[in-house]
């Protein structure tokens, strides 16, 4: 079949994206990656792109084709062309080095380094590990570092220094490893601003992950373990911890959220003062609740919290903070 590859070639002199079109004769079952190789070999040796294993294993050839993120060595041209055209662009949320080659250090490797992606073995190395204990580790190890979770991340979209779902999933892999001893240090290490607590759990990462690792759920599980260790923020973002404590305390006592206390307790005194102009406007418009009554559910909800506290204390005693269900 005849198709045209319209390929991103960097920014033009006007600062706008520039594209170059390459007409190609291909078989419909040829992959997008094979098409690119064909262009490089037959038409234009200057076209830059990455590819490694050619079987969906190395994560190198992530691209956007017709505005959809794909592992380009796995996708047949015939399945994705539109009216004979394939618009080929680099992944989003990161700058490119040349053409389709993006800055992998910036999107992935520098952030992976921050989570210390190596095992720190326990002294009491277990002789045997139950299969199910390794299930979360195996799940996270499916990651091919294709970068799609980060390229779809709504936080990286506005803050490229956010650690991102790929590195957090790597952190998950070690925090949940029964042979690793450094979970509390790891969790503390990713708790500063632009780390674990900056995730908005919007499920874009899960939607973008081609390996069904569901990074969003993994990040939420990572947070739950952190909270069990008493870690709810780093040093520079303590408002997050205050917010959690106030939230949990009002639901525990009254069954639901006390927004008056939440604002005061999260902000602290100085923060509260800076909020005053907006706060007064809100009070004036009846948007700031002045009273908070317990709900009927308060007693029952409080008992659930207490029971959970007892379970957590028992788990701590057994050194099993990470595994308690």
């Amino acid at each position: 079949m005849e198709v045209t590859f319209k390929v991103y070639r960097g920014e033009g002199q006007d600062g706008k994206p520039s594209y170059q079109s390459y007409p190609l004769e291909v078989r419909p079952e040829s992959t997008v990656m094979e098409g690119l190789v064909q262009i490089r070999e037959e038409q234009d040796g200057s076209l830059a792109f990455r590819g490694g294993c050619y079987r969906g294993f190395c994560g190198d050839c992530s691209l956007r084709v017709n505005r959809k993120g794909v592992v380009s060595c796995l996708v047949p041209i015939g399945s994705i062309e539109k009216d004979g055209e394939l618009l080929i662009e680099p992944v989003r949320n990161v700058d490119t080095v040349k053409d389709l080659v993006y800055d992998m250090d910036r999107l992935l490797w520098d952030k992976f380094e921050k989570v210390q992606p190596w095992l720190q073995p326990r002294e009491d190395w277990p002789e045997a590990i139950a299969d199910e204990e390794l299930a979360p580790v195996r799940l996270a190890m499916r990651c091919t570092m294709c970068g799609f979770c980060d390229e779809g991340c709504t936080v990286i979209d506005v803050d490229r220094d956010f650690i991102g779902p790929a590195a957090l999933t790597k952190a998950f892999r070690f925090v949940f490893d029964p042979r690793d001893k450094a979970a509390p240090e790891r969790l503390a290490g990713i708790s500063e601003r632009e780390g674990l607590w900056d995730c908005v759990h919007c499920f874009e990462a899960s939607e973008h992950c081609p390996m069904a690792i569901d990074p969003t759920y993994r990040i939420m599980e990572l947070r739950d373990v952190a909270i069990r260790h008493g870690i709810k923020s780093g040093k520079g973002n303590q408002k997050n911890a205050r917010h959690y404590d106030s939230f949990a305390s009002s639901v525990r006592r009254t069954g639901w959220l006390d927004e008056r206390r939440l604002a005061l307790e999260s902000e602290g005194f100085i923060g509260y003062l800076t909020m005053l102009p907006t706060g007064l406007k809100a009070i004036q418009r009846g948007k700031a609740p002045l009273r908070h009554r317990s709900r009927l559910s308060a007693g029952a909800v409080g008992r659930i919290f207490e029971k959970q506290d007892r379970k957590a204390a028992a788990a701590r005693k057994n050194g099993k903070e990470g595994k308690q269900k």
């Binding site: 709504t154 936080v155 979209d157 506005v158 803050d159 956010f162 601003r193 632009e194 607590w197 900056d198 995730c199 908005v200 759990h201 919007c202 499920f203 874009e204 899960s206 939607e207 969003t216 939420m220 599980e221 947070r223 739950d224 069990r228 923020s233 973002n237 408002k239 997050n240 205050r242 917010h243 959690y244 939230f247 949990a248 639901v251 069954g255 639901w256 959220l257 927004e259 999260s266 907006t278 406007k281 809100a282 418009r285 009846g286 948007k287 609740p289 709900r295 009927l296 559910s297 029952a300 909800v301 008992r303 659930i304 919290f305 029971k307 959970q308 379970k311 957590a312 308690q324 269900k325």
Partner: protein
Amino acid sequence: MTRYAFYSGCVSKGACPELYASATKIAPQLGFELDEMTDVGCTGAGVLTQEVSDPVNARTLAKAEAMGVPMVTICSTCQGVIGQANFRLQDQKYREYINSEYLAEEGLEYKGTAEVKHLLWLLVEDFGLERLKELITNPLTGLRVSPFYGCYLRRPDEVLGNTARKRYLEQVIEALGAELVDIAGKGKCCGFPVLNANETTSMKMAAKHTGEAKDKGADCMVVPCPLCHLNLDGNQSKAAAVAKREIGLPILHLPQLVGMALGFPPEELEMRRHMVSTKAVSAKVKRVPLLT
């Protein structure tokens, strides 16, 4: 009247009372009897850990199940978080564990059959857009409206169930006679969840989506989630300052937009409570008296 187990959520009783007011105003017009659940706890909103929020949500689901009618939410965050819990509780082993550990002492049991639906889904699936059109006394002709779903009415698919639900907001806007101003950010995060951890990021997200709608000529934006409303309306001036631009986009709750088309005056929908003035919207929507 069709009866529903109504879960109001915290914010519609707190910082967004206009959502509660407008939802309970339009419901009888649509034949929805909202039987409010009072002995229920907060969903946890994605803040509390699953170990605490799953039992609390199982308790709520058990109570809805016992009422024998679908449960309805007016907050995407409530919908998403309790929907995710309900999805996990479909696992029989896990459900039995939660039942025996937490619910049994109150004499409750969750059997896994409760259905949780957002008001938006009720409008399209239970009431129907054609019937909705027949009820309109005050078509929103000429009003340019951008949809903003936020996260949980779009993702994740396994909790959403029916993926056609990802287009309901646009369909409702058009059914009400308004003009759809589509935006790329309609299914992205509003920034509210990261307000405490990183306010700058939160403000950039809020400015990006409201700014996009404004730049495309929207008169207002409609949201099905009061947390999105808090960030997009309540914090809009701060977001505009961070993004160093003007925005000034009124943000309406879903039942307010529907309510205007059904002929309710803006005062009854409590539109004066918003932080960004909604006067321009009210002025553009010429009102005819409510048919009663």
